[in-house]
Amino acid sequence: MHVETAQSNESANLQPDQKPLLRLKNVSKSFPGVKALDNVDLDVRAGEVHALLGENGAGKSTLMKILAGIYKPDGGEVILEDQLVTMSSPLEARDHGVLLIHQELSLVPDMSVAENVFLGNLPRFGGMLVNNRQLNQRCGEILERLNCKFQPTDPLGHLSIANQQMVEIARALVFQPKVVVFDEPTASLTDYEKVVLFGVIRELKESGTAIVYISHRMDEIFELSDRITVLRDGTYQGTFETAQTNEDEVTQCMIGRDLDADIEHEPPELGNKALKVDGLGIEGLYSDISFDVHVGEVVGFYGLVGAGRTEVMETIFGLRKPDTGSVQINGEDLVINSPCDAIDHGLGLVPESRKEQGLVLGMSCKDNTTLANISKFTKFGWIDTAAERTIFEEYMEKLRIKCPGWEYETLNLSGGNQQKVVIGKWLSTSPKILILDEPTRGIDVGSKSEIHHLIRELAKSGLAVIVVSSEMPEVLTVSDRIVAMYDGRITQCFDRNEVTEDTLIRAITGQTV
């Protein structure tokens, strides 16, 4: 319903100079097991900064990748200057004047700034040798426009991340783009560098370029944008004029209200302190992290990507060495040097990235399930395959893993089922403390809710559970207590019952309360 209101309002107010330069209509995109975008609309005018807002997994990046020709949409239209266009490769998108500035930099560190800027497009003498003078001169002009202090001849690898970001922008400017998409450009920038970047974006805007700006930092969006479009779970939620709305309204729209309704939150019967972390820190990553988790409760770690949550968990699990602080398990001071130690002490970690860290994709479901405690299934070095099958089939039933059989390669499972195999792997080690890092990232709503219920049940059955998540509904659904992190430190701890979405958002964006 929201959709219609937003659209009709707009067409009523549409003035000649506000005609959209770029229009996405009813764009849909599915990945195996997930509907990433469902009939999403977006229109961007020349000379405006249009913010695209949504939680992780809302579909922002997917939408932009469609725009940049990296993904092909399953349905819908892309209209650029009243022309229906198809963009089936980044090259084609570039030819249409649509350029994406990536979240991860895609530069070649060993080449010079100018070579990076003109990569694939180097000015040449008669089509053969690179014309270095023209290269450096043209690059210099662009750098000047961006107020950059470094030289075209500097090796890229010597620049700071912020300056590399500038090079990435310079590279886009070579093509005199009509639309520039910034995908979370400030994630790794300092405040000063941000100011410089914003200056560049404003300058681009004034020269008539349409800018799509993706971020979930409210303050930036309100500082910079003219309009805001909100996505949630792959659906279009509405478009706001920035001047006529406020953070609350937008946040509301972004989060929605459809929490897993039937999950109850009676205060848990707290058992002993299963895990106590005191003053943990690694220089440059995070500092002074202290918290504890009791038997029978779920503690949610909420924060933006890059806040240091994953690094804290990896440290507890023995994958990183802390510079300061200590970890106690069941009241015992421990030094955990490796994941192997961690498993011996009853810890389990469902990692952030199931494909890179969770599964050996080429191995079968059964083999993955027993990987973390293969020694339990081994006598004199000999694997008891029958016992392995029994345990996998047990978890297949318990976690409702949809798969044709124990010998099926995990590569071919959907995201939700892959994640359940990873969870099964850790449950089969009978952990006392289970850490789940982004347990439902990129999986469908159904599996998501199943996993949420499972997490609650695990806590009830006597586990101490930590859930790291960037999704507010998830944190609110599963946690008994919530720890908010921002920029490598804990900003606040909340009880589930006394927290509001607003205070949470403030706590994780560093706005002091």
Partner: protein
């Protein structure tokens, strides 16, 4: 037996299989029988027990080394040092034979060969250096050590009548040549180790996804180390066969073996990226190389023609493998 049968269908899946995928999976077995059929039809000396054992004998040295190297490659690494390691081990065992007698020479040779293997394993497993660079460096370093040791001379066993050392290369048991026996028995044992023990499972895991293996509490460094010990061990076994058969050794006798070994492993379909592979298929791969060599000799082609044919066979095998994974013969970009 089931272990052996299982190995013919690595990566069990329930998907329907296209003809291309079928060739990709079973191409090596088909190629093997194709070689047998072609050579049987073109030369009548080919199909005989004598010739069969000759082929297995020819394959046994490369094959035995390839068994250990298969573990290294499944674990996601390479071992190019086996060629000069073979020279080193053969020279050592032959030279020590006259000095301390075969009873001492053999264990000493094993100790020193494993020592070199553990240097590889330490550098690649614990220091996490690139295996290609480490073993390529080792290839020349070990050759250097061997040349220093021999002073550039070749070594001989002076009295080859009066020693039991010849049993490994020239003896036979129940009518089967001992080299063939060593090769076949090691292959069966290692196939079972690969498929049925937790060590084998862990090697697949570190090669398939080292990060996930680490997150699952596997000690990646120790496992990589072990695979290099294993390849040094099988290389030592091969040196035993070689030294005993020749009863002497040139100081660079193993030169070029590293590539033949790798060719056999690749031909067997073991992925150079790690995570998949099979001992049985490596055996078939090595046998194909030996068959080609043998068949071309019987047909009267010069010795060096086999190199070209081997190259063609390897390219065809790798192409089929890639094409099967990609689902089509040519890349579209």
């Amino acid at each position: 037996m089931k272990a052996l049968l299982d190995s013919f269908r690595p990566g069990l899946t329930n998907r329907e299989i296209t003809p291309l995928q079928f060739f990709g999976k079973h191409g090596i077995t088909i190629a093997f029988f194709l070689c047998v059929v072609i050579f049987s039809l073109t030369t009548d000396k080919f199909l005989s027990t004598d010739n069969f054992f000759k082929v297995v004998m020819q394959a046994s040295i490369i094959g035995t080394i390839a068994l250990g190297v298969t573990f290294v490659v499944i674990g996601g690494n390479l071992d190019l040092s086996v060629g000069s390691l073979l020279s080193f081990a053969t020279v050592l065992v032959v030279d020590l034979h006259d000095k301390v007698g075969p009873g001492m020479a053999i264990p000493l040779m094993f100790v020193f060969t494993l020592l070199i293997g553990s240097v590889n394993g330490f550098l690649i497993g614990y220091l996490r250096l690139n295996s290609l660079i480490v073993t390529l460096g080792m290839l020349s370093a070990i050759q250097g050590i061997t040349l220093v040791y021999t002073g550039g001379k070749n070594v001989d066993i002076s009295n080859d009548e009066n020693t039991w050392f010849d049993i490994f290369g020239r003896g036979d048991l129940f009518g089967i040549p001992v080299p063939a026996l060593i090769f076949i028995v090691s292959a069966i044992v290692l196939q079972v180790v690969l498929l049925k023990t937790s060590f084998g499972r862990k090697v697949f895991a570190i090669g398939g996804n080292g990060t996930a293996a680490l997150f699952s509490g596997l000690r990646r460094n120790r496992l990589v180390f072990s695979t290099y010990l294993l390849s040094a061990f099988t290389t030592a076994c091969a040196a035993l066969i070689l030294g005993s058969r020749v009863m002497g050794s040139q100081n660079n006798v193993g030169q070029g073996y590293e590539l033949l070994v790798l060719a056999g492993v690749i031909l067997g379909g073991t992925s150079l990226l790690g995570g998949s592979g099979s001992i049985v298929r490596t055996v078939i791969g090595v046998l194909i190389l030996a068959l080609i060599q043998n068949g071309l000799q019987l047909l009267g082609y010069p010795y060096y023609s086999q190199w070209l044919v081997t190259w063609v066979v390897i390219i065809a095998a790798v192409w089929l493998d890639i094409a099967a994974k990609r689902g089509k013969l040519f890349s579209s970009y």
